[in-house]
């Protein structure tokens, strides 16, 4: 794997595609859209290949600029990164397809400038964050994805979006400031920023610096908690996701997963069992906060009066479940969490698209939970029913299997009673919330008149995007066995940090492909 450039492709491809989209969009917006779609599809192909490569269990390292690991920046591909890349690419394909469909107010991507360029840069940031093995580089990719997300959130303009984005931008900028403090404290203590090298050096930090180290570790978790939307840092989430346009909101579902991914990565790699003064400094907090997040997400879903907000609370609930899995921190719970992650991400993204597609015929009622005329209520109702069952964690869909895996794996934990109570009760709350929303919107819907029906023709790309996500969710149920075993292998690999450290620090530099001096000598 060392000689292969595939690992860097998920970062380079969106960068090039974004730049091309910027250049093309003034001459021909359609060409920019085409570039974006092709690049996203190619990304899906590359991500699939990377999953196949990572599935054999070896950690692939890629040395940027051919500098050896602790000195240069390395990228690392293990099972977890590959899985996240594939999920991102899948959601991205659905989002970009949906964006090219014509919504009620024209094509989604033409409601504001630069949609495709920002979309690709956001993908670059996401993929980079999943691949990098360097803490400061992670900060840079966070900024890339945040800058793009500020632009995407404002896409479509309007006062509501502006208001939401002031909160979102200020909150995330403060998060970035804290990130820098944490990273530089760690650098001051250890003299390195490579995550593998940090993992190696943290255990030998002298006892008098233990306080500083723990402070840096907890600060890092605060920063990732902002992204993952953990209690009490989630208040931005519902406003932001509720205000964003549908394709953007669907892609943003992946953004909370970046936070979860980073927490999983640093807790297992840097602050795990062998981390000396910083070992398990986060876990005791994380489980409790995750339980609180889960409980509050269920209350929020019950209280939500708008469908988009309801879905935003479902995203929050899924973040709570995942953080709980990471917080409990055994191989079983992490595997359950990863299994749940695959399914819940797809369902939530599909629900955002579904809500947007069906509210087009509801006129001023928009996504409010009031009886209103609804075109093709039967079709939308069936889809909503399927997705609601799936996202609430009822059988036969993957959410159910993920939740039961987590419950089974947490049986011997000291927190087991709390976990079982909160997970089961919050699931009940979410079922009630979804059932209430569905019965109001679909059963009490008046048949739409001809004008309203004409206002809401779901275009082929929109249908395609929804079909892709629902199809992926169904395929994931059929393939539950392989996905579960992949998740278990991922959890094992995550907890075995030596493999990651050895792969990154031991990566050999590539021999020069072309040595100009030697060639010149030959010519002489």
């Amino acid at each position: 794997m060392s000689g292969s450039h595939w690992i860097v492709a998920p970062i380079v491809l969106p960068l090039l595609a974004g730049a091309m989209a910027l250049l093309l969009e003034r001459r021909s917006p359609r060409a920019a859209a085409a570039v974006s779609i092709i690049a996203t599809l190619a990304l899906l192909g590359i991500a699939t290949r990377l999953v196949a490569v990572a599935a054999d269990g070896a950690v692939g390292a890629y040395l940027l600029g051919n500098w050896r690991a602790p000195f240069g920046i390395a990228l690392a591909l293990d099972r977890l990164s590959a899985l996240m890349l594939l999920l991102t690419a899948l959601i991205a394909v659905a989002s970009v397809m949906y964006a090219c469909g014509s919504g009620a107010r024209g094509r989604h991507d033409e409601r504001g400038p630069h949609f495709h360029a920002l979309f690709q840069f956001q993908l670059m940031g996401l993929n980079g964050a999943f691949l990098t093995a360097d803490l400061f580089n992670l900060f840079v990719f966070f900024e890339v994805l945040l800058i793009a997300s500020y632009g995407l959130l404002l896409h479509g303009a309007g006062v509501v979006r502006l208001r939401a984005s002031i909160h979102y931008v200020v909150f995330n900028l403060t998060g970035s400031a804290l990130f820098l403090i944490a990273v530089s404290t760690l650098y001051g203590l250890t003299g390195t920023l490579s995550m593998a090298d940090l993992a190696q050096r943290i255990p030998s930090i002298p006892a008098e610096s233990a306080g500083l180290l723990q402070a840096a570790a907890l600060l890092l978790i605060v920063v990732f908690g902002v992204k993952a939307a953990i209690f009490p840092l989630y208040f931005w989430l519902t406003d932001t996701y509720g205000a964003a346009t549908a394709p953007v909101a669907a892609l943003f579902v992946m953004m909370t997963k970046v936070g979860v991914y980073c927490i999983a990565r640093v807790t297992t790699l840097m602050f795990g069992a062998e981390a000396g003064p910083a070992s398990f400094v986060i876990e005791p907090w994380l489980s409790w906060l995750a339980l609180a997040t889960l409980a509050l997400a269920a209350f929020g879903a019950l209280a939500a009066w708008h469908l988009r907000r309801l879905v935003a609370y479902l995203v929050l609930a899924s973040a709570g479940m995942l953080l709980l899995a990471v917080g409990l921190g055994t191989a079983g719970t992490i595997a359950a969490g990863l299994f749940y992650l695959v399914h819940s991400t797809v369902f939530a993204a599909a629900l955002f698209l579904l809500v947007d597609s069906m509210v087009a015929s509801r006129g001023d009622a928009d996504d409010e939970m009031v009886p209103a005329p609804l075109a093709s209520a039967g079709g939308y109702g069936t889809l909503y029913f399927l997705l609601a069952v799936a996202v609430a964690g009822l059988p036969p869909f993957g959410g159910f299997i993920g939740k039961s895996m987590l419950l089974a794996a947490s049986r011997s934990e000291p927190l087991a009673v709390g976990v079982w109570t909160v997970v089961l009760l919050s699931s009940l709350g979410i079922v009630v919330a979804l059932a209430r929303a569905g019965s109001t919107v679909f059963w009490k819907a008046a048949p739409a008149n001809a004008m309203q029906t004409a206002a809401a023709p779901a275009s082929a790309p929109e249908r395609g995007a929804l079909a892709l996500l629902v199809g992926a969710a169904c395929a994931a149920v059929v393939a539950a066995g392989p996905i579960a075993s992949y998740a278990e292998a991922t959890a094992q690999q995550l907890l075995d940090r030596k493999g990651y450290i050895a792969a990154v620090l031991g990566a050999e530099t590539a021999p020069p492909a072309w040595n100009p001096r030697a060639d010149m000598k030959k010519v002489k």
Partner: protein, 123 residues
């Protein structure tokens, strides 16, 4: 001595930044963000340790040993951080101005709080 002064300076700036961040007007928030990022930038710089008369790049005059030179990495990091925080401040200003224009209010929530309105009407 120098370390203590720098620490005090960073602390004061971060404190003022946080205070301004928590205020309700977007202009105050932008200023607070700026102060906070200044504090962070200086903080990153100091993690390379404070030293006088030590360049970060080998100049050929001094002996090529680690004691003669400052750690160049935090200086590179702080450059990145400065560029990013500067760009972010510009973006935040644009969004704040746009929100001020569209919502006719510079309150961070995009509308004047009800209590203030009522008090103004009463007076």
């Amino acid at each position: 001595m120098m370390e203590a002064l720098l620490a005090l300076f960073i602390g004061a700036m971060a404190g003022a930044g946080v205070f301004l961040l928590l205020r309700a007007r977007t202009f105050d928030v932008v200023l607070g963000m700026t102060l906070l990022s200044y504090a962070v930038n200086v903080f990153i710089f100091v993690t390379g340790r404070v030293a006088i008369n030590k360049p970060a790049i080998i100049d050929g005059v001094r002996a090529a040993s680690l004691t003669q030179y400052a750690d160049p990495l935090p200086q590179a990091l702080v450059l990145t951080a400065i560029v990013i925080s500067f760009a972010m401040t510009a973006l935040l200003l644009v969004i704040a101005l746009r929100a001020r224009a569209e919502a006719a209010s510079d309150h961070v929530d995009g509308e004047e709080p009800a209590a203030v309105d009522a008090a103004e009407k009463a007076s």
